[in-house]
């Protein structure tokens, strides 16, 4: 059963309807229809410049669409500010680290937890009195193998750890849907498996969409693959369907095989 058949059902965590965006004559998103079922592990692949990051920017509200809708858990969030979408459970990570260089991981994740709990505007109390928030932050960090470095300044952390902190910050918002923009970007291939092990270990209730170039990783961790080409959905299906699709081989996989 394809995802489109379930369109009307209640099990859809995040959907887009006719999502379009262009810069002048350059179309970066063309009539995109997506349906992410609750608990999905979807991969978004496509050649460079296919509009993968743009699609995440559109869904999270960092870039307004020209047309179309974004529906999160049945609610139309197309016009909401990015922070309001996060509050409703839509979080993302960034392809290029976007961290807080002068906060350590504990402070950064505690900040994100405080924002979620609505206590970040309290200027009259010491942050240390919020025991629950701090413990929650530390728990997230420990789960992502950052417990031992959580007092070190973020800018001094090894790169791979910083990639994990990207995910930790997103998790601190307690998302229902998490969009991961190349979580292992820039990490040596032998370490990228570690990052995806962490991703795979996330709660089954969390709906995941990740962008990734390494097809081994995609086939290993995704249950469903969406192929984006030139800002439009080229095709989608299970890993087996995608790897057997001659069209996909041509536009994307083929390039890789020929070097």
């Amino acid at each position: 059963m394809s995802a489109v058949d379930k369109k009307a059902s209640a099990g859809i965590a995040l959907a887009t309807r006719g999502l379009s965006r262009s810069f002048g004559s350059l179309v970066v998103a063309r009539d995109i229809e997506l349906n992410l079922p609750v608990g999905a592990r979807y991969a978004l692949i496509g050649p460079n410049g296919a509009g993968k990051t743009t699609l995440i920017n559109l869904m999270t509200g960092m870039l307004p669409p020209n047309d179309g809708q974004i529906i999160l858990g049945g609610e139309d969030i197309t016009t909401l500010l990015p922070q309001a979408r996060v509050k409703r459970g839509l979080a993302r990570t960034f392809q290029i680290n976007s961290l807080f260089a002068h906060l350590n991981p504990l402070e950064a994740v505690t900040l994100a937890v405080c924002e979620r709990r609505g206590i970040a505007a309290r200027f009259w109390q010491n942050v240390a009195v919020n025991k629950d928030a701090i413990e929650e932050a530390y728990e997230i960090l420990s789960k992502l193998k950052l417990g031992d470095v959580c007092y070190q300044p973020t800018r001094e952390l090894p790169y791979g750890r910083q990639r994990l902190l990207e995910i930790a910050l997103a998790l601190a918002t307690k998302p229902k849907v998490l969009l991961l923009d190349e979580p292992a970007a820039g990490v040596p291939q032998e370490e990228s498996g570690d990052i995806f092990e962490v991703v795979a270990g996330l709660s089954n209730e969390l709906t995941l969409l990740f962008i990734e170039h390494d097809m081994h990783v995609v086939f290993r961790f995704a249950t469903h693959i969406i192929v984006l080409v030139g800002g439009a959905v080229f095709t989608e299906g299970t890993p087996a369907e995608i790897s057997a699709d001659p069209g996909v081989r041509e536009v994307y996989l083929g390039k890789r095989h020929h070097g």
């Binding site: 993302r92 906060l103 200027f123």
Partner: protein, 327 residues
């Protein structure tokens, strides 16, 4: 930092603990009473400037909002305190509170514009608002005295006991106490969840919405708080000198306070305090050498400091101490 904290909570708690150097700093502020009794009015000016620089530090050093019009709130506080004591009530503490509230009101209203912009646009907006207020005060001669200055302030004895004397002893004590109380509030704010959010805004404006933070709302809040603090500083100068001149609102005052903060080190609670002290002592000494040209020396000092110590004098010192203690 040397010993590993037992729990994450204990670690965060330890960050806000008073360090011996801080206690030493506040003890040193008492020295002028005994060693420099002839310089107490300068000490008073320093305490006021330090409070003003501290207020700027909250928005510039912590939230990364560069303002070239912060004198607007200093001036509003000064005129409010002056007008209030002349026409309504001469009690000084009520004067401070009324001035703080009025400056906060101005801050709150302008914060809606400020929170929407960044970078050069923001600097120009703050500059423009400052100039605007300066001209408004100049033209409202009937209320402010315009370029003649506001005269006739009569304040009561502090706490009904201490009359402002000619040597500035009471004035300095009063300003220093006020500075200390406001400093305690600022220190608490910096160590609060809100302080964390401000540092987040300074570090990475783009990431903040992605962790669900409403940065404009945070900025409106800190801008209002900062304006209130600047207003208290202005009120202190009005009460202790019993006059308000138009330069309370001047661009020069806005620029000076940025220089003080950058000299001392922005984004460190003591940066503005140290910077104000160095700036005003330097001005006092240099203007003794050549009254018209003292900005020449300040210029040299500023260029030297920002070239050699990008995080200000305190930033340089803490780096030095860090390097030394690692050996």
């Amino acid at each position: 930092m040397a010993t590993a904290p037992t729990t994450p909570q204990a670690y965060l708690q330890s960050l806000s603990r008073w360090r011996p150097i801080e206690i030493a700093f506040w003890l040193v502020t008492l020295v002028p009473f005994w060693l420099f009794p002839n310089y107490l009015s300068l000490a008073n000016q320093i305490a006021v400037a330090a409070l003003f620089a501290l207020s700027l530090d909250l928005i510039l050093g912590y939230a990364g909002i560069v303002s070239l019009g912060h004198a607007a709130f200093f001036g509003v506080g000064a005129y409010t305190a002056g007008i209030f004591s002349k026409f309504v009530w001469g009690e000084v503490f009520t004067g401070l509170i009324v001035a703080a509230l009025m400056a906060a009101l101005f801050g709150y209203v302008s914060s809606f514009i400020v929170a929407r912009f960044r970078h050069l646009t923001l600097i120009m907006i703050t500059l423009g608002l400052g100039l605007l207020l300066h001209s408004a005060a100049n033209s409202a001669h009937w209320l402010t005295g315009g370029s003649d200055g506001f005269q006739g302030i009569s304040v009561w004895k502090v706490a009904g006991l201490f009359k402002f004397d000619l040597y500035g002893k009471v004035a300095y004590a009063y300003s220093l106490c006020t500075l200390f109380v406001v400093f305690l509030c600022a220190r608490r704010l910096i160590n609060s969840p809100f302080g964390l959010a401000l540092r987040g805004i300074r570090d990475n404006w783009v990431r903040m919405p992605a962790i669900g933070a409403d940065s404009p709302s945070h900025i409106r809040k800190v801008y209002t708080i900062s304006a209130a603090m600047a207003g208290i500083a202005g009120a202190l100068i009005a009460q202790t000198t019993q006059t308000v001149s138009l330069d309370a609102l001047s661009f020069e005052r806005s620029a000076d306070v940025v220089v003080m903060l950058v000299l001392g080190g922005a984004g460190r609670l003591y940066g503005g305090l140290v910077g104000a002290t160095i700036f005003l002592i330097a001005r006092d000494q240099f203007s003794g050498i050549a009254p018209q040209y003292w900005y020449f020396w300040i210029g040299i000092l500023l260029v030297t400091v920002v070239m050699l110590l990008p995080n200000g004098i305190l930033g340089g010192l803490s780096k030095l101490v860090g390097r030394w203690s690692r050996k």
